[in-house]
């Protein structure tokens, strides 16, 4: 399949095939691939680049699963570095920000699969947060967690989601998808729900009117073809339900886990994966360059390779940082805006559902870094 033929299909709005996707992963000209992805990105979003004000809660790292790529989980309470937050401890993370007047709009909640907590721990966690700030958007529990609750607490997936939604759940994050191909899944995360089960949780959520995100963990042992297979399965579900908002490719980080001998993907592989994702997933509106795992510099560059979203301020992220991510724990809104503006893009502050909170002049830093004029230096000492 020649690149020109694929480009023609992309421009005509035709879905790409499995073979097209594989050919793109093997296409030698990265810049050509990036330019085509950028064309699609600009057709969909122009120069707009989204971010939000959020923070993370990882309420427990105790987890029955032993995924090879994970540096975060501990098997049981009492293991070294294992922790499970008391609910007031988790609630206080929101309360302290509200008290400080921080205009946070979203909490991202992802946890280990803890086998000793009652289901009410989770419903109360959500309800307590909503009591503190009713307007906060709770994007919580990956499909893997939902599926675990279904098994552990003897409820259907739908029942789990219904009860969590009643307690305050607003949407699902996209984690836990890893790679759907059974060959890979059995080797790197055999304890997790399988690909069909993961997709089924999202299908159920979409039918109930919940929006969700989706992810792909790349850079472990999967082949390019297995990445394409993964993305096409997401695309098929999106054709069915239209419930995915954002696709987030997640680069594997090799430190402190059982796959330490693998080197982890380099930036050129990151950018290639982003570009292919933008071209294959024509029906998923957004592509997020999650700066925590890509690094700020590569994430900024990815804004020219198909990505239109940088995630948010994040704060207190644990999962990737325990795997050796050297990125900062947080970026201030001004820092995120500057990254976007310096990329030559237009920053848009969004909420979780991509409603615009602010854009244009209102967002531009008061003293933007500009290259015009000579008087831009100030001596500090």
């Amino acid at each position: 399949m020649s690149f020109a033929t694929i480009a023609t299909k992309v421009r005509a709005g035709e879905p790409l095939s499995f073979d097209d996707g594989a050919a793109l992963f093997h296409h030698p000209n990265l810049m050509e691939l990036g330019a085509l992805a950028n064309e699609v990105r600009e057709r969909m979003h122009g120069a707009r680049t989204y971010f939000n004000r959020n923070f993370h809660i990882n309420a427990t790292n105790v987890c029955v699963a032993s995924c090879m790529f994970c540096s975060f989980a501990r098997l049981k309470d009492g293991d070294a570095d294992a922790y499970t937050m008391k609910l007031p401890e988790a609630w206080d993370k929101l309360q302290s920000r509200v008290d400080a007047g921080e205009p946070v709009t979203e909490i991202h909640i992802v946890n280990g699969l803890h086998d000793g907590l009652p289901f009410e721990y989770y419903t109360e966690l959500l309800a307590g947060l909503k009591r503190i700030k009713p307007s906060i958007h709770l994007k919580a529990f990956t499909a893997v967690e939902i599926f675990y609750y279904h098994q552990k607490y003897g409820m259907t997936v739908e029942e789990v989601l219904r009860r969590l939604a009643a307690a305050g759940l607003d949407s699902l994050p996209g984690g836990g998808a890893e790679i759907f191909a059974p060959r890979v899944r059995q080797r790197i995360c055999a304890d997790k729900c399988n690909g069909d089960e993961w997709l089924d949780v999202h299908r159920t959520a979409h039918r109930m009117g919940l929006r969700t995100n989706c992810t792909m963990l790349y850079g472990t042992i999967e082949t390019p073809e297995e990445r394409v297979d993964h993305m096409l399965r997401l695309r098929a579900l999106q054709d069915e339900t239209g419930g995915f908002q954002t696709f987030i490719p997640l680069a594997f980080h090799p430190e402190n886990n059982a796959l330490m001998k693998l080197p982890g993907p380099t930036a050129v592989e990151d950018l290639r994966t982003y570009a292919v994702a933008r071209l294959l997933l024509h029906n998923i509106p957004h592509l997020k360059a999650y700066w925590v795992m890509l690094g700020v510099k590569t994430a900024q560059t990815a804004l020219w390779f198909g990505a239109d979203d940088l995630d948010g301020t994040v704060q207190e992220e644990k999962i990737y940082h325990m795997a050796g991510a050297e990125t900062p724990q947080t970026l201030s809104p001004d820092e995120i805006i500057r990254v976007i503006v310096n990329a030559g893009r237009a920053p848009v502050e969004r909420d979780t559902l991509y409603n615009v909170i602010a854009e244009g002049e209102a967002l531009l830093p008061k003293q933007p870094f500009r290259r015009t004029g000579r008087r831009a230096l100030e001596v500090v000492s």
């Binding site: 990036g34 080197p263 930036a267 050129v268 590569t298 900024q300 560059t301 000579r374 008087r375 500090v380």
Partner: protein, 651 residues
């Protein structure tokens, strides 16, 4: 469809323009003398003619010009020269070749500008070389210029004189015709012909030299370095300035106003700038010349031309830097790299950065490494420590020491000479050492000429000079950030002297001090012009200012995307620099790797030690195996090199 009828002069410098046309059956091409080409156009026997600019200017009707294609030059041209036994200002008479009306016009203008009025006498073409004797000089054009330059003591290159006078390129010849004579498709055809000609310059030079028993290297160097085959904003300014000056000097008797330079439509609409950097409002200053209004080339055209190796003008490059979409700028640089280096190899070197002293009198605000003389943390490495470092370097497969330090008033020239001799006697390592600032300082404290200092350092073992301390070669910027450092001119002069003594050097640029796009371009222009003159630079390296812990507060864009844009622009603008090195120590290996796709062909050095930027926040470290992994993952084959960028045998 009827064929496009063309007439062109048959000089060597026109061959790259006509190369593709000679093989294209869509055109009917004939070669003739310049005056005949103009006559054919006047008589309507051809649609377009490649005319000397003087013929164009003196043409009775207003013509149109094909955008993007010209025989032009910035600085020395070597084939339009006045030679003689005395300097130009002492000549009482200058002999002219009767066939060189265009060059004669340029000479008359330049003589007027310099207030000189020798008698001008015409002699036959084949007698011109013998005409120069005593106080009589001769204007030599064409291949004879190469010979004449060797034979006479006093040579005035009119290309150099023109650029020195106006700051602009000179346009020797351009495609011209009547309005409507060329469609956008015709323009594209002429540009395509040039592109293929540029790719075959070596072959053209060989053929020309063989037929005339000349040295092919001379012809090739001429086509590569003296002639610029582009007609961009800068060249149009140059052509317009020439016409305007000639008119006001009364040298265009048939005209009642300066001949306008109007372009044919190339069919490429100006790209809307929605994709452009939204940060910087476009600050392209008004041009300072009074050229007749000509439409600028589209960004697409500029990028395609630059990717093909056509020389980018200053204003055009500033537009690309401010407006070109990031990936398209990168793709053009990637294409340019591929043309220069092929698809495969990315080089790197194993060396060690030894900072022999941190004592420095310069107190640059952006530096976190130096200590002033007398400070308790000041050091100068002793031989014992140095020996350890050098032996480790040899043991780790290193081939070179990058030796740089502060401006330490305690260290005389003899200290460096002793050090170099000791190093050479004991370790098999090349010395890539002492940036221009250090050399200038040694010359200052020793009260010796730069040349003497460099000669003595070379005699003691210096192999090459690193290009550090250039920061931004614009004195407004330099006065602000490092007022005690050497001026732009001094930095360039050290490099010029080093090149003249046979040393190869690198060149650097540090951006992100709040300088303007034009100041960045000024830096690149200085480097390109010196490289035209000496061809002594091996590589260019740039990185953004690392602010942490220094006395300058970061107020500029030093992000990855700006680095990649600046890097790609440098690849396109520095068309005479063979290598561009990515800066992973400052940007990180990932951005360094991506820069290989924005024009880079060298991954720098597997560094064993570095002290300066790591004191200001850069913390990346890579060994040879890491470098090779990054290079391979980007689709290249890693190869080790030495400082001269020669490949070492694969280990």
């Amino acid at each position: 469809m009827s064929k496009l009828r063309l007439a062109a002069v048959s000089f060597l410098n026109a061959r790259p323009i006509t190369y593709g046309l000679e093989r294209d059956d869509r055109v009917d091409l004939r070669f003739d003398l310049p005056a005949r080409c103009a006559d054919l156009l006047a008589a309507g026997e051809v649609d377009l003619a490649l005319l000397p600019t003087a013929s164009y200017a003196g043409f009775a009707e207003d013509l149109r010009v094909v955008p993007g294609v010209a025989v032009a030059g910035r600085g020395p041209v070597r084939t339009v020269v006045v030679v003689g036994e005395v300097p130009l200002q002492q000549m009482t008479e200058i002999a002219l070749d009767a066939a060189s009306r265009s060059s004669a016009l340029l000479l008359k203008l330049l003589l007027r500008e310099r207030g000189l009025a020798p008698a001008l006498v015409e002699v036959a073409h084949d007698q011109i070389l013998d005409a120069a004797a005593g106080t009589r000089g001769a204007l030599i054009i064409g291949d004879a210029g190469f010979v004449a330059t060797e034979r006479f003591e006093h040579v005035t290159d009119l290309g150099r004189e023109w650029t020195a006078l106006t700051g602009l390129p000179f346009v020797y010849a351009l495609w011209a015709g009547r309005a409507g004579a060329a469609t956008p498709a015709d323009v594209a055809l002429l540009r395509d012909s040039l592109r293929s000609g540029l790719a075959h310059r070596a072959e053209i030079a060989r053929g020309w030299a063989e037929a005339r028993r000349m040295d092919p290297a001379v012809c090739e160097s001429y086509l590569l370095h003296n002639i610029r085959y582009t007609l961009g904003a800068e060249e149009l300014s140059g052509a317009a300035a020439f016409i305007t000056r000639a008119f006001h000097a009364g040298l265009l008797p048939g005209r009642t106003s300066p001949t306008p330079v109007r372009l044919y439509d190339d069919g490429r609409p100006e790209r809307p700038i929605t994709n452009a950097r939204t940060t910087a409002p476009l600050a392209v200053p008004a041009s300072q010349d009074s050229r007749p209004r000509a439409r600028a080339l589209s960004l697409d055209t500029l990028l395609a031309d630059a990717a093909a190796g056509l020389r980018l003008g200053f204003d055009d490059a500033a537009r690309l830097y401010d407006q070109a979409p990031t990936l398209e700028l990168g793709a053009a640089a990637d294409a340019r790299r591929r043309r220069m280096h092929g698809d495969d190899v990315v080089t790197y070197i194993i060396d060690r950065n030894v900072n022999y002293t941190n004592v420095c009198v310069t107190r640059c605000k952006f530096c976190n490494f130096y200590r002033p003389p007398g400070h308790k943390e000041g050091y100068t490495l002793d031989r014992y420590v140095l020996a350890q470092k050098l032996q480790e370097t040899v043991d780790l497969g290193g081939v070179q020491i990058l030796l740089q330090g502060g401006l330490n008033p305690e260290l005389p020239l003899s200290w460096y000479e002793d050090l170099f001799r000791w190093m050479k006697a004991n370790f098999p390592l090349a010395i890539h050492g002492l940036s221009p600032e250090e050399i200038r300082y040694i010359a200052e404290i020793e009260s010796l000429p730069l040349r003497t200092v460099i000669e003595r350092l070379v005699a003691a073992g210096l192999d090459s000079i690193p290009g550090g301390g250039a920061e931004i070669l614009d004195d407004d910027v330099r006065r602000n950030i490092s007022p005690l450092k050497c001026s732009t001119e001094t930095w360039l002069e050290v490099m010029r002297q080093g090149h003249a003594l046979g040393l190869r050097t690198t060149a650097t640029m540090v951006f992100g001090f709040g300088e303007t796009s034009r100041q960045v371009l000024t830096h690149l222009e200085h480097l390109r012009a010196l490289q035209d003159e000496t061809a002594g630079f091996t590589a260019f390296i740039c990185w953004p200012f690392q602010a942490e812990g220094t006395r300058l507060k970061l107020k500029d864009d030093t992000s990855a995307v700006r680095y990649l844009r600046t890097f790609a622009l440098s690849r396109l603008y520095l068309d005479n620099f063979p290598s561009l090195q990515v800066s992973w120590p400052t940007m990180g290996p990932d951005v360094g790797q991506v820069a290989l796709r924005f024009g880079g062909n060298d991954f720098g050095s597997a560094m064993i030690e570095e002290n300066v930027v790591s004191q200001a926040g850069a913390v990346f470290k890579l060994g040879a195996a890491d470098i090779e992994r990054y290079v391979r993952a980007a689709g290249f084959v890693p190869r080790r090199r030495n400082m001269r960028y020669e490949l070492l045998p694969a280990s």
